[in-house]
């Protein structure tokens, strides 16, 4: 039998004004097992805690019930106090008689009765409490960042700055991501390359950072502090250590007709290529789909001219196994391909482009060397129409688009419009918008500048149809403020397409057991209070993989994720939550029901020997719970048909005891 002490808190008058605390203390003192019962003005105060500790010592208490505020407030406080007195902290239970009683009831008799019942339920539970010990697990002091865009770069640099090792896994041959393709950045109009490439160089030069470029995460095992990750280094047919990045091969390769994704396929590159001049690592790669040597065995030009002897046509994919304490997802985004929006003519008219294609058409390193020319006939466009929200803000039942606002389009469109008007004053620029959304520092000022200073025509309405006829794009649109249908003869139409998470993110989330929303954005542990952590311990989120963001926001979140990683890696040991599931092997029938419902993969099955009747041994397949991975939700406990699985701290018997106490009245 437990020796239980009961402490009723007045919380000043918060509780005592509505609950007769003395009567509660008196009533609960008669409960079985209760050897001490008292009330006090502020249990959470230093003297309140001392009172509790003295009582534990004097009355040799084995369990404590505090009737006070919500356990979400002070459970930790009282447990710590008990622990100082040598009592296992999990022998303390709270009855919430403030939020659930005094604050919502007025009638003192009624409130006092309810407080007594809640106290009885807590006492009934404590009778069944067992001392729990939180386990510990070691921490591998290295982080993995999946994705080498600006988000991954910033996270990796910050973690490395704190002295920890970081690996970046990037599926493309270079880091840099989408930001490397962008021309200028809003709202300052500085060049993306000028601010990004120094960071890329920092990554390359940082001894703590290792880049796995042209690589993908293949498998993830383990749990917080102890992840084991297989990384597939895809064959690039160039030996990384030997290639000097001179680029001679990329000029001499006879296969010239390869679409160039870095320039949004608006021009071509060779079969052996370095994505762009500032690539990190600056190492060539061969596109196996186009290389004549790899396809037919004839050619070998690159190998012959490579002075470093870096070409290796026999190269194979390689699997590297690495261990990490924390993993950051920074998988980024892609603009939606508007091929479901052919009322705008994207698939049939070359002069209808997406905003990212326009970035390349305006970039000095792009296919037109920075001169804005129509893709169809390479002439200078005079009239440009921008269409906002292509594929964003659609109804959930709309299969073509996304239900969310992509957040960055209003601003980059203002940027494009402004840059075009500045560079080419002979142009007319129209922007069709539903709403102009500019919440950000200096953002609305920027948009107003586009209108007031640069004379961009902002029209509230949408484009309904684009018809190409005699070299013009006839744009049919609505102007909702004037109530007219407009017909504009344009030279180019630019579609602000929705942002969508990279296609690889879904598979990575599954490997990480990190949850995703219906749009394939990673879910954060708490929308407001834990925005850079996944609900899965040890997994952190950086950049657009969590939701649409511009560059400043991405960088902030990337640094925030790094701070969380650093906080984790700085620990030598991790304390686990002791309220985890555990399986009674004697009852387990090996059915795997629990394994199937576990969202964390914390349950494994193994064959174990048991002693059978007549000195025989039986081998049975039984479940065991990895306590470092289990988060204690209890899904398995209900799925278990044999009653073998139970949850420490919230056991079947404990909860039923509470039910009984409440119903007894």
């Amino acid at each position: 039998m437990q020796r239980i002490g009961v402490f009723i808190c007045h919380c000043g008058t918060n509780i005592a004004a509505t609950v007769d605390v003395k009567a509660v203390a008196e009533a609960l003192s008669h409960e079985p097992g209760v050897v001490f019962s008292t009330d006090y003005q502020y249990m959470c105060s230093e003297s309140g805690q001392t009172l509790m500790r003295e009582a534990i010592r004097e009355h040799k208490l084995t369990g404590v019930v505090v009737c006070s505020c919500s356990p979400r407030m002070h459970e930790a406080t009282f447990r710590k106090a008990a622990e100082k007195e040598g009592l296992n902290p999990y022998m303390v239970e709270i009855a919430n008689i403030r939020e659930q009683v005094s604050w919502i009831h007025k009638d003192m008799k009624e409130a006092t009765e309810k407080a007594v019942i809640l106290g009885r339920a807590a006492i009934a539970k404590v009778h069944l409490n067992k001392p729990l010990k939180a386990g510990e697990s070691p921490v591998t002091k290295r982080a993995l960042v999946i994705g080498g865009g600006i988000a991954g770069i910033q996270t990796a640099l910050d973690i490395a700055e704190a002295g920890f090792e970081v690996d970046i896994v990037e599926k493309e041959p270079t880091i840099g991501g989408k930001m490397a393709q962008i021309d200028k950045t809003f709202p300052t109009l500085d060049c993306a390359a000028y601010i990004l490439t120094p960071k890329m160089v920092d990554v390359a030069q940082n001894e703590k950072i290792k880049i796995f470029s042209y690589s993908e995460v293949e498998a993830v095992k383990g749990f917080v502090g102890n992840f084991k990750v297989s990384i597939r280094k895809k064959a690039r047919y160039v030996i990384e250590d030997k290639c000097t990045g001179c680029g001679l091969c990329t000029e001499k390769c006879p296969q010239k007709k390869v679409p160039n994704p870095f320039n949004m396929n608006l021009d071509t590159r060779r079969a052996i290529y370095i994505p762009f001049a500032q690539a990190v690592p600056k190492v060539a790669a061969i596109d196996a789909d186009y290389c004549t040597m790899l396809k037919t065995g004839k050619c070998g030009v690159c190998s012959k001219i490579c002075a470093a002897g870096a070409i290796d046509y026999q190269q194979k994919d390689e699997i590297v196994e690495r261990e990490y304490g924390a993993i950051v997802a920074a998988t980024g985004f892609n603009p939606l391909k508007p091929d479901k929006y052919n009322e705008y003519g994207y698939s049939t008219c070359p002069d209808v482009v997406t905003s990212l294609e326009l970035e390349r058409l305006m970039n000095a390193a792009g296919p037109t060397a920075g001169t804005l020319l129509r893709p169809s006939d390479k002439t200078h466009p005079h009239t440009l129409v921008f269409v906002q929200c292509v594929g964003s803000r659609c109804d959930a039942e709309n299969e073509k688009g996304k239900p969310y606002c992509s957040k960055i389009c209003c601003m980059y469109t203002a940027k494009h419009a402004m840059l075009i008007r500045e560079k080419y004053p002979d142009t007319e620029v129209y922007v069709f918008y539903i709403d102009v959304r500019t919440p950000g520092k200096n953002f609305d000022e920027f948009y107003r500048r586009a209108v007031e200073q640069y004379g961009v025509h902002y029209i509230k309405g949408q484009v309904g149809k684009v018809v190409e006829e005699n070299g013009k794009l006839k744009v049919q649109a609505s102007d909702l403020l004037s109530g007219e249908q407009l017909h504009i003869d344009a030279d180019m139409v630019v579609l602000a397409t929705a942002v969508e998470p990279d296609k690889s993110a879904r598979g990575i989330a599954t490997m990480l057991t990190a949850s995703m929303d219906t749009n394939d954005f990673f879910t954060e542990a708490h929308a407001k209070l834990r925005p850079v952590e996944s609900p899965t311990a040890g997994i952190f989120l950086s950049g657009v993989c969590q939701g649409p963001k511009d560059i400043p926001e991405t960088v902030s979140q990337a640094s925030a994720a790094a701070a969380k990683v650093i906080g984790l890696l700085a620990k030598d040991k991790l304390t686990c939550n002791p309220c985890v599931a555990n399986s009674d092997e004697m009852l387990c029938n090996g059915c795997s029901s629990c394994e199937k419902v576990c969202p964390y993969g914390a349950i494994t099955y193994s064959d174990k020997e048991f002693r059978g009747p007549n000195r025989t041994t039986l081998i049975r397949r039984v479940a065991s719970v990895n306590e470092a991975v289990c988060q204690g939700c209890g899904a398995c406990t209900v799925a278990c048909p044999s009653g073998a699985m139970d949850l420490k701290g919230f056991s079947n018997r404990q909860i039923m005891a509470e039910v009984d106490a409440i119903c007894k009245m």
Partner: protein, 260 residues
Amino acid sequence: MKFSYYPGCTLKTKGKDLDTYARASAEALGVELAELPEWQCCGAVYPMAKDEIATKLSAVRALANARDLDTELVTLCSACHNVIKQVNNDMKTDADIVLRVNNYLKLDTPYNGETNVLHFLEVLRDRVGFDELKKKVVNPLTGRKIAAYYGCLLLRPSKVMAMDDPENPTILEDFIRAIGAEPVIYAMRNECCGGYVTIENPGEAKRRSNAVLDNAASKGADTVVTACPLCLYNLKKNGGHDDLPVVYFTELLAEALGVK
């Protein structure tokens, strides 16, 4: 290959060409189009109200007949196709309409959307196959530049019609390639010709059909094909392009197969 065939009112009168050439071509392709024994006019407009039952019954009768004959149901006129496919969709998905229609019709076996409805173009694409069709062409229309006019009813609403991409369709273009001609792709091919207001508001119908043909002509088309008698009538009468003949796609098919 045997199908039940629903010609519809216009194909028996003013739109005979659409029908006769289709039958001749089908025969040449080894496709049997067995006309439903007792078909009734579909009404030409799909009634979108959930509480409209009577106007959906003739389509359901045709669908149930085809079901009883254990065949897929082939249509040719864009309007019939639109009505019958949409009604069939109601009979698959809207329990209330199913109940009320069946209560009214008292069929031996209640109808629940079992029949698969195909446009003749879908038969050519998905059952015969355009590659197979190409092999049977004796009289390829080499050098002809043909603009396909889809209009509105063939593709929309795309969720129900489920025939092709409603904004960038390819079925007629692929058909044109199969008969040896060159398809002309132009943006107005899926915009309305204004056929419905040709009685009410001829000026409007003129403006719309003119815009369609202007766009097709600007892309160098020498012929326009359609699957809809009303579009054909309207484009010819109101399109303002005497230089640009508008014909049924089945006419060119028959020509290519040498059965015209």
